[in-house]
């Protein structure tokens, strides 16, 4: 396959955008519908990535690498889902502050575990040996195919999220988020509903973490920083927390802007890309979050329901 027309940075940039959109979509179900502010996105992303990586690299599998790959992928997803179940169980009845601290604490615990459990994770030195489950020639071709596969996975997540939005389950999530005691008095187990939502969302985040690990092929604790959570959160808030397409629009306008436009098309001095631009990116993301929350709290796409409510309450 001749891919000379395709820039390697573009593949990498698009891949980052797709991953953040996937995380933003899953976060949308938790934050946009059920109002659970999960600040531990990177924890679930990371635990899926490392569970997959350790399983794939460290275990001496008695069967082919392709089988080992998919079993490890399922394992990473499952571990992330079970972690979500545990964290969800701990935070489901807490107030917003408790949820924030609990989820942030989980993400920190994952980072510490990945750093200290050197025999398993490689610690600060990292863990190599990951590979694609196929080989179609060049590295670029393999990465391009992986980008297509992961984009398909994220498109399926988008379909699932859209379906939830239109379903009675989606209404239930809105109800639980808006008034949990009332939802309970209607015969719906709010605790179980939130727990299931958290487990499924976390499993999805873990899967995306594992898929990310395959692309980078070297697991490094620098991938477990708060910037992953921040990027998903900023993308979602900018696009519209309560809208299905919010994370998609926001993902392109944030990560897309930095990873594709700035990296590939703006001729900054070479030295800037390593140090200055990532720092500027964090600052811009933080500032964006503040500006959006101050002036357009419902994001670019807004929210038909809440917009209508606001108009009704304040006139206009």
């Amino acid at each position: 396959m001749n891919l000379d027309w395709l820039d390697a940075f573009l593949i990498s940039g698009l891949f980052s955008v797709v991953i953040i959109i996937g995380l933003g979509l899953l976060l949308h179900l938790q934050l946009g519908l059920a109002r659970i502010a999960n600040f531990g996105v990177v924890g679930f992303f990371g635990i899926g990535m490392y569970a997959f990586g350790v399983m794939f690299v460290k275990v001496d599998w008695p069967f082919s690498e392709v089988w080992a790959f998919f079993i490890s992928l399922a394992f990473g997803t499952l571990v992330a889902g079970l972690s979500g179940l545990l964290v969800g169980w701990l935070i489901a009845d807490l107030d917003e502050d408790g949820v924030l601290v609990g989820t942030l604490g989980f993400a920190t615990a994952v980072l510490i575990l990945a750093t200290t459990e050197q025999d398993l994770t490689g610690g600060a030195l990292g863990l190599g040996g990951l590979k694609f489950p196929y080989d179609i020639g060049s590295v670029k071709a393999n990465e391009f195919l992986w980008l297509i596969i992961v984009t398909t996975v994220v498109a399926l997540i988008l379909l699932y999220v859209g379906r939830v939005h239109r379903s009675p389950y989606g209404r239930l999530l809105i109800a639980v988020g808006a008034n949990e005691p009332l939802a309970r008095s209607l015969g719906k187990p709010a605790f179980r509903t939130k727990l299931w939502l958290f487990a499924v969302g976390s499993a999805g985040m873990g899967l995306l973490g594992a898929l990310f690990g395959v692309m980078v092929r070297f697991l490094d604790i620098s991938n477990l920083g708060i910037d992953v959570t921040l990027a998903a959160m900023v993308a979602l808030v900018l696009g519209g927390t309560a809208r299905v397409w919010g994370a998609v629009i926001g993902g392109f306008l944030t990560i897309g802007l930095f990873e594709i436009v700035v990296q590939s098309y703006i001729p900054f001095p070479q030295g800037w890309y390593g140090q200055a631009i990532p720092v500027v990116r964090q600052m811009v993301f933080g500032a964006t979050l503040i500006v959006v929350l101050l002036f357009r709290p419902l994001g670019i796409l807004g929210d038909m329901r809440r917009d209508k409510l606001m108009r009704s309450m304040h006139g206009g």
Partner: protein, 238 residues
């Protein structure tokens, strides 16, 4: 006990509950059968706490609750709701970001009867709501909002409905309409009702039995027709 077959639908004994360790209800006994049971009392008497405790939204400090003979004291709210106890809170009784129709659908998520049939029945009871189906509940007036909350609870096909001050703050027109509907729900649907109310005159018109709560204790429990103004005043500490 006032149910026709001699056993009460709801039996409450020695109920104590409150908030954050502060006891509001100080040992309530209550037997409710197939009837409208009014709970009267001044502000702070414990009416809302009583209904929220019966709906299992506030934990008990002591006492027991039996529904149709089954001990539901330790059941979570969603399970008592599934057994047939519907609850309409005084405030925030609707989900503002959902439409009227979606609010009703959420209410109808339990039960076996067709949701469409149940929606048709509640619209028959409150015809004005049919025209508001697509409107967000948060944009409704106070009276409309109470109607939606009541219909949402009726969508659960409850056998016992807990109504917490359904007419508080409403115009006289809505108040009259609501009390007519309470009688209609009881008589045509066979739903027992516990009605917490400040409006004693209206409540006594529709109630079979009455309890006057005073500072968390049952000051009087009797047939509604027998309650005298003096007893009521004493219960209200006027």
């Amino acid at each position: 006990m006032s149910e026709a077959n001699g056993s009460a639908m709801l039996e409450v004994h020695g109920l104590r509950s409150g908030y954050h360790g502060v006891e509001v209800l100080k040992g309530i006994d209550l037997d409710v059968g197939a009837e409208v049971f009014a709970v009267l009392g001044a502000n702070g008497a414990g009416k809302t706490t009583l209904l929220a405790t019966l709906a299992r939204l506030i934990p008990l400090m002591a006492g027991t609750i039996h529904f149709h003979g089954e001990d539901v004291t330790r059941l979570p709210a969603f399970e008592t709701a599934a057994r047939g106890i519907g609850y309409v809170p005084q405030e925030k009784g609707v989900f503002p970001e959902l439409t009227v129709s979606e609010n009703l659908t959420i209410g109808g998520m339990i039960g076996r009867r067709s949701r469409e049939d149940r929606i048709a029945e509640v619209f028959e009871l409150f015809p004005d709501l049919a025209a508001l189906q697509g409107q967000l509940a948060g944009t409704l007036s106070g009276g409309e909002s109470r109607m939606v909350a009541c219909c949402r609870a009726l969508m659960q096909d409850p056998q016992l409905l807990l109504l917490d001050e359904p007419t508080a703050g409403l115009s006289p027109l809505y108040v009259d309409m609501f009390f007519e509907k309470i009688t209609e729900i009881h008589q045509t649907k066979g739903v027992s009702i516990i009605l917490a109310e400040q409006n004693a005159t209206k409540a006594l018109e529709v109630a079979d039995q009455v309890m006057v709560l005073s500072l968390g204790e049952a000051f009087a429990v009797m047939d509604a027709a027998q309650l005298t103004t003096d007893q009521l005043k004493e219960g209200y500490r006027i």
